[in-house]
Symmetry: C2
Subunit: 234 residues, 2 copies
DNA sequence: ATTACGATGATTGTATACGATTTCGTATCT
DNA sequence: AGATACGAAATCGTATACAATCATCGTAAT
């Protein structure tokens, strides 16, 4: 798609560059630390450097790349603590988004989420982490996408994007966590179904993500753990 | 090495443009809806349009401006619900930042915050909203700046910036709220001093901001209130 | 009087050109 | 041999030029 001739480029080259570069970062093609050379990107995209620069600026503002004057841009996220910080931030904003979304959730939403969780359970047998991760995102999407506050929703999306970028480069799958996760999902659904107070829903959603983080930390080296002065797991 | 002499620009024009435009938005010189014309900005800054474009892209990514292809950029935040969304988002991230920061806070930090709050109390008599607002930011800054998670801290800063931009254009001061606020500040300090669980601190910090939002809503029109499907005040 | 339509001006989108800065290899000196 | 100074290549920063697009307004036809 996106016929480049067509006389009318419906989207600007700047936008194309932004989308393309971001996709490669999230997709893992550009791993953290990768140096983004403007001329090379421009040649790759078939445009001049000006649109590429604008795309880089946007990505810079979203913390996908770091930029240094007269030196250039590199893909952000070299720091191993980046994953921890991102997970913690997401636990907070996603918890809030899920809680705010809960009063607006319908029975069919719940059913849809439960069906997705069933598929995840099946994934546990025929080991398929990629599909599992995709379903996981779908599941949580059902729970938080109704959030009426667009700012918070935006923060959640950015967190997921960032996480995906980090995962595709430096993340190690935590064995055994997957089955726990499926069980926690069902618990989360029951809490929401029961019409529990929003603070309970928020706490549960936050704890669910914090558990994943804890599982990751339990497998990491003590040096890494020492770098995490947070302990927000309640 | 690389002694930068005064003649050469130590920071790029792109950065200058970004800082200048952002300052004018936050300062209220560019009110929401204001149309940002590239050539005019460039002339004002004494540079060409290219650096201005890059600055606009960054501001776009930070949601300070909205951008439409072939039309241009306008200062964001026309929507009156913007204030509500921003306050709610800030209540969540600032609450989390304050809670995460609390275990690292020293006695002198507390004393400093208390001194600032004293100055705020004095401001109540000789009515000075500008100074009051500045002190308010200082006060909360002491409480959340120790937050070890840079992502969350960044979100808090962005929220405050956004709030400042909205306030300087469309915000009406809520009379009577100021004295309540000072009292709540003291309560917050006591909770932190007492070494209460982090969840209590988070709840208190969040409730403090939610109270300001509630006070605002109580004075607003029913139509505005109807647009707020959130009710996160626990 | 109203509406459709086309010309005109304003503004954005992108390419190219060139100066400025950094980086890195290499030769020279101690 | 190691350190340092120098120069060349790579890359970034910005200005300018021009094409593409959109908004506005005047005019003519109904």
């Amino acid at each position: 798609m996106t016929a480049r001739n067509a006389g009318s480029p419906s989207i600007s080259k700047s936008e194309q560059a932004y989308t393309a570069i971001k996709a490669k970062i999230i997709g893992g093609e550009f791993t953290p630390g990768y140096r983004l050379v403007l001329a090379a990107l421009a040649a790759d995209l078939g445009c001049s450097v000006v649109p590429v620069r604008e795309a880089i600026r946007r990505l810079e503002a979203e913390n996908f790349v770091t930029f240094e004057r007269n030196v250039g841009a590199t893909v952000a996220g070299i720091d191993p603590t980046e994953y921890l910080y991102t997970m913690q931030t997401l636990s907070i904003v996603e918890g809030a988004a899920t809680a705010l979304s809960a009063p607006l959730i319908t029975g069919s939403d719940i059913a849809r989420a439960r069906a997705i969780n069933e598929q995840m359970r099946e994934c546990l047998n025929n080991f398929d982490p990629v599909r599992f991760t995709a379903l996981n995102q779908q599941f949580h999407g059902v729970l938080f996408e109704n959030c009426p506050n667009p700012h918070i929703l935006d923060l959640v999306h950015r967190g997921w994007n960032r996480l995906q970028a980090l995962r595709s480069s430096t993340f190690s799958y935590v064995p055994g966590r997957a089955s726990e996760s499926v069980a926690e999902h069902e618990g989360l659904l029951q809490i929401i179904e029961s019409g529990a107070p929003v603070e309970d829903i928020e706490r549960a959603a936050r704890a669910h993500r914090a558990s994943t983080l804890d599982a990751y930390l339990a497998r990491s080296t003590p040096e890494q753990q020492a770098q995490v002065p947070l302990a927000f797991s309640y």
